[in-house]
């Protein structure tokens, strides 16, 4: 009996320890962010000023193939060499979606990262969650940042109502890739890619032979991105976009947009130059590399992938124009978060500034295929060498004068899902172009209603 009661007590003890353990891990990880490093530092070197040592956490996603994590971790360690008083903990968080989920969970738990790369389209969601800080104070005080050196097309989505909330980092546009050998085989000039919608159709018809498609435009995941491109190309107003710049209105259902979506549908159903149905985002580059399609519209972020894997000569061009050229920008910016100390935010700003300076922008662009975010990045030696060897990399940059902001609104998840789903339904032949955009508009209006009160 005595033995049993001892055992009971032991079991109780174990359970209490388990619970305490749970509590402890939480506390210590919270503490780690704050100042675990500092007591140790001050204990060993009492004379060094303790306020100077700051530790910040940096979340970043990688969304394209290749060993980009190494590049970013390398940039982080050079930063720490130059700023011995700041310790940066880089955390690779998966793709953009996973990254956003992790950041959101951190914000909910009041333990956000200090600085993170996040989709430019998350701006309004982060503002509605009161998760990020405006950067205007830093920009005004800090002359080193030179905001005018960034490409204006990339700055567009860092701002709303003339306040800046992020700095461009990992950016792209849509470009058209084409297989030069297939052009030759079809009797087309490989140095003259199609420049208008009509030419695109004529070319694609000639190229649609020998068991490969003429053209592929991906339609799943964020199909609104491709739709935005076609809509802008078909817009009479050079500044027309599918949402308002304050993120409170969606403008999907316009006659010009219906024409744009109809053109997309016709490529498969009427012209028969593109496979029918919803074409998968991830398989399009594979199809192109394997010679299953002669042309593709895809992100410029895939340049390095195509360059390394295509066994043929390929060209890169602006996606063709109807009334004008146009492509939305895409990708991620650097954000600094609320709920940390001013010292950490200042350290995060130093880090942001470093990561987006010309040399780093050049390094990151040449190793990833993303567009260099600064004009001066293209004047660096590294970039000059890269673009001399690989002139295709300049196309996305040159296109920036026609580039514009990616769909970004309040309640972005619901609004983008509304348009994406309807585009998919239209591509699958369940609904016509006009009906799809009407429905998308209704759903978006409903999602945006609370923000227009």
């Amino acid at each position: 009996m005595l033995k049993q009661s001892k055992l009971t007590a032991l079991l109780l003890l174990v359970s209490i320890m388990a619970i305490a353990g749970c509590g402890q891990t939480n506390k210590s990880s919270a503490g780690k962010d704050m100042n675990t490093n500092q007591p140790a530092m001050t204990a060993s070197t009492p004379e060094s000023s303790e306020s100077k040592n700051v530790e910040i956490t940096f979340y970043y996603p990688v969304n394209v193939g290749g060993p980009l994590t190494k590049v970013i971790d390398g940039m982080v360690s050079t930063f720490m060499e130059q700023h011995p008083d700041i310790k940066v903990n880089p955390v690779y968080t998966g793709n953009y979606g996973d990254n956003t989920v992790k950041i959101q969970a951190g914000v909910q738990a009041k333990q956000p990262p200090d600085v993170a790369v996040m989709m430019s389209t998350e701006l309004y969601s982060m503002l509605d969650m009161k998760a990020i800080i405006p950067l205007d104070d830093f920009i005004v005080k800090d002359t080193d940042i030179q905001m005018s050196d960034f490409y204006p097309a990339f700055l567009e989505d860092t701002q709303t109502e003339s306040t800046t909330y992020s700095i461009p980092f990992q950016r792209s546009t849509i470009v058209m890739y084409y297989n030069k050998e297939m052009f030759k085989a079809a009797g087309l000039d490989p140095e003259k890619p199609p420049a208008t919608w009509d030419e695109l159709v004529t070319y694609a018809k000639k190229l649609n032979r020998d068991g490969h498609a003429g053209l592929e435009i991906p339609g799943n995941d964020d199909s609104y991105w491709m739709f935005q491109m076609l809509a802008r190309q078909n817009a009479t107003d050079p500044k027309q976009n599918i949402m308002s710049s304050d993120g409170k209105k969606a403008m999907f259902n316009t006659p010009e947009n219906v024409e744009a979506l109809q053109f997309w549908l016709d490529l498969s159903h009427k012209q028969k130059v593109m496979p029918e149905g919803v074409i998968d985002w991830a398989t399009v580059p594979t199809d192109f590399i394997q010679g299953k399609t002669a042309m593709m519209m895809h992100t410029s972020g895939n340049l390095t992938n195509v360059k390394n894997n295509a066994k043929f000569e390929f060209g890169v061009a602006f996606p063709p124009a109807q009334k004008q050229f146009g492509s939305p920008t895409g990708g991620g910016n650097l954000y600094i978060f609320e709920n940390t100390s001013p010292e950490k935010q200042a350290a995060a700003w130093e880090f942001v500034k470093y990561m987006t300076a010309s040399e780093q922008a050049a390094l990151f662009s040449s190793s990833s295929g993303y567009v260099g975010v600064r004009k001066s990045a293209y004047d660096t030696e590294a970039m000059k060498k890269y673009t001399a060897d690989f002139p295709q990399a300049l196309v996305a940059r040159n296109q920036l004068e026609y580039a514009f902001r990616e769909l970004s609104t309040h309640n972005h998840g619901k609004v983008s899902k509304a348009i994406t789903n309807q585009i998919q339904a239209a591509l699958a032949g369940e609904i016509d172009a006009a009906g799809a955009l009407k429905k998308a508009q209704e759903e978006a209006d409903q999602a945006l209603a609370p923000f227009n009160k």
Partner: protein, 295 residues
């Protein structure tokens, strides 16, 4: 008083043994469940960051949510598509694995093998099989339809494609239960049947099927709950598309939380799902269980 201390001494040890796991169950199962019920009474999303009490308003809105209705319908379709087929297949495979004289071990291993691969890996393998131009099954479908067909990109075919994959994965797992059930059946029953001149088919129909009914019930419940719980493949293969044609309840809940930031509605759907799963699993404990025992 003496009785009380006696009781404590007698039961204390038992409770002590249960306590650790009970604590974790409370922490990670019951507490979140109650919290979901509480949260489902509130509106909490990007437009209303501070929770706003709405009573059963979320539940009323849920009935009006077309996507939710579609997703629920998809899930029921998914269950109807996967459960009877995988159960039937599992039964046949178990019969074979039970009777096979040569290569019995190999038969069992190869039937069970798909179940040992993680869902994410299965999804990646099947994604490739369904990839237009390249995948084996995509080519087969193209050959049958006599035109290029994108199985995962077409609303009419996507659900069927996912159901086939799920049956392939799940049937081997359920076979194990049937195999165990069949080996419980006394061999003299079959001998008696054989002596009486009853054919093999009749003895399966009259002996094997009735005597494995408890297994069928158990496996059926597991299969139905699985069809609501297994959604890992959606991340890899379709993300619920095209236009929600392959979206399932759990994935929609995830989307609502982490993509739409609508925690109130997500909690409401979670409660609906918990209730659904409770009803399904309670089938095993009430009524049905007694009706099908033959002992």
């Amino acid at each position: 008083m003496a009785g009380w201390s006696e009781k404590l001494r007698r039961n204390g040890f038992g409770w002590g043994l249960v306590l650790p796991s009970l604590l974790f169950l409370c922490l990670f199962t019951y507490y979140p469940m109650l919290k979901s019920v509480w949260l489902s009474m509130y509106e909490k999303n990007l437009a209303t960051p501070e929770p706003l009490f709405v009573g059963f308003g979320n539940y009323a809105n849920l009935l009006k949510d077309q996507v939710f209705m579609k997703v629920l319908g998809n899930n029921i379709g998914f269950a109807i598509g996967t459960v009877p087929t995988s159960l039937g297949l599992a039964f046949l495979m178990a019969l074979f694995a039970d009777k096979a004289i040569k290569g019995r071990g190999l038969a069992r291993l190869s039937f069970f093998y798909p179940n040992m691969i993680p869902m994410i890996a299965v999804a990646n393998i099947w994604l490739f099989l369904y990839t237009p131009h390249f995948g084996l099954l995509a080519r087969l479908a193209t050959w049958i339809a006599e035109q290029p067909i994108n199985l995962l990109g077409t609303p009419n075919t996507v659900m069927g494609a996912l159901i086939i994959m799920m049956v392939w994965k799940e049937a081997g797992y359920f076979m194990i239960f049937y195999l165990a059930g069949m080996q419980q059946i006394p061999k003299d029953l079959y001998e008696a049947a054989a002596v009486s001149g009853v054919g093999a088919l009749t003895s399966i129909r009259r002996i094997t099927i009735p005597l494995t009914m408890p297994t069928t019930l158990f496996v059926g419940v597991v299969a139905i709950t699985n069809s609501f719980k297994l959604v890992d493949h959606l991340w890899i293969m379709t993300k619920g598309g095209p236009n929600n044609a392959s979206n399932l309840l759990l994935y929609y809940i995830y989307d609502t939380t982490f993509n739409f930031y609508d925690q109130g509605m997500a909690a409401t759907m979670t409660v609906v799902m918990i209730v659904l799963l409770l009803i399904i699993s309670s089938m095993q404990f009430f009524g049905w269980d007694h009706k099908i025992h033959y002992e």
